[in-house]
Symmetry: C2
Subunit: 156 residues, 2 copies
């Protein structure tokens, strides 16, 4: 479906409401077959959950609503361009299309790290601010071998 | 703290156990002051939650355990190199250090999209597989203005 302004206005309304409820200034809605099936603001500080961005929350609610981990056929409207965590979650959820309003640079201008994390992801692990070390790959290949040969697995 | 093999072995044990419980072949633990404070496998298919990767689940559990959205002073051990969603979550959680075992290419070899999503994130929004469109930025700047001037906000 093409862009429908009323869904973006709802995502923005949720963002405004969320600030009143002591959450972050972000909102999102997920639409299927022309209807909103889930919406949420950001609840990082109110839920003590750093992953509880508006898009992640809305994906989780939509999946619960539909009883699936696959949101093919759905579109997400976000009041702000998703951070890399949320954009990746959109990929993992197989959402068809993303509409956003403000940008990651707008988010940076009010103190959110989205642009910084986008940049970090382009670096090699050893160049990133969060130090990363690889160890014991040989041992950790075992669950992958088990998975490869498992016949009754649910793939995603 | 420096790498401690016993924590990685526990993350791998969780991954193996998780496969037996019909989850994906991934496990993670979070360590603070030399002790494991949270661990989890991947529960995407068992919880119908595409964001329920091992690292995200473990971050959520650790935050609940400590009553905070900020995991400074913690380290995460993951049986596999985090996907972009999980790596970004590690940044948002302010975890100090990451230890991983298998790589995103190992994950790709058993059918997981980590490498593909890493590549997509380097592209401009209009070049990505998930189509993205920007609309109505001017309206969506309103909650950001409210946030900027709010005096009793909880920043993160």
């Amino acid at each position: 479906m093409s862009y429908n302004k009323k869904f973006m206005l709802e995502a923005i309304r949720v963002a405004n409401e969320n600030i009143e409820n002591q959450g972050g200034p972000f909102g999102a809605v997920i639409v299927k077959d022309g209807k909103i099936i889930a919406s949420s603001g950001n609840s990082v500080t109110t839920d003590n959950d750093p992953t509880a961005h508006a898009e992640v929350n809305t994906i989780r609610k939509a999946c619960k609503q539909l009883g699936t981990f696959n949101l093919e056929g759905c579109e997400i409207y976000s009041s702000c361009e998703p951070c890399p965590m949320c954009l990746s979650a959109i990929y993992w959820a197989h959402i068809d299309k993303l509409y956003y309003a403000t940008t990651k640079d707008d988010a940076a201008s009010i103190g959110f790290d989205d642009s910084f994390i986008y940049h970090e992801l382009t670096l090699k692990p050893e160049q990133r601010r969060v130090q990363a070390e690889q160890h014991d790959r040989d041992i950790a290949l075992e669950p992958f071998q088990t998975w490869r040969t498992k016949t009754d697995k649910t793939e995603y």
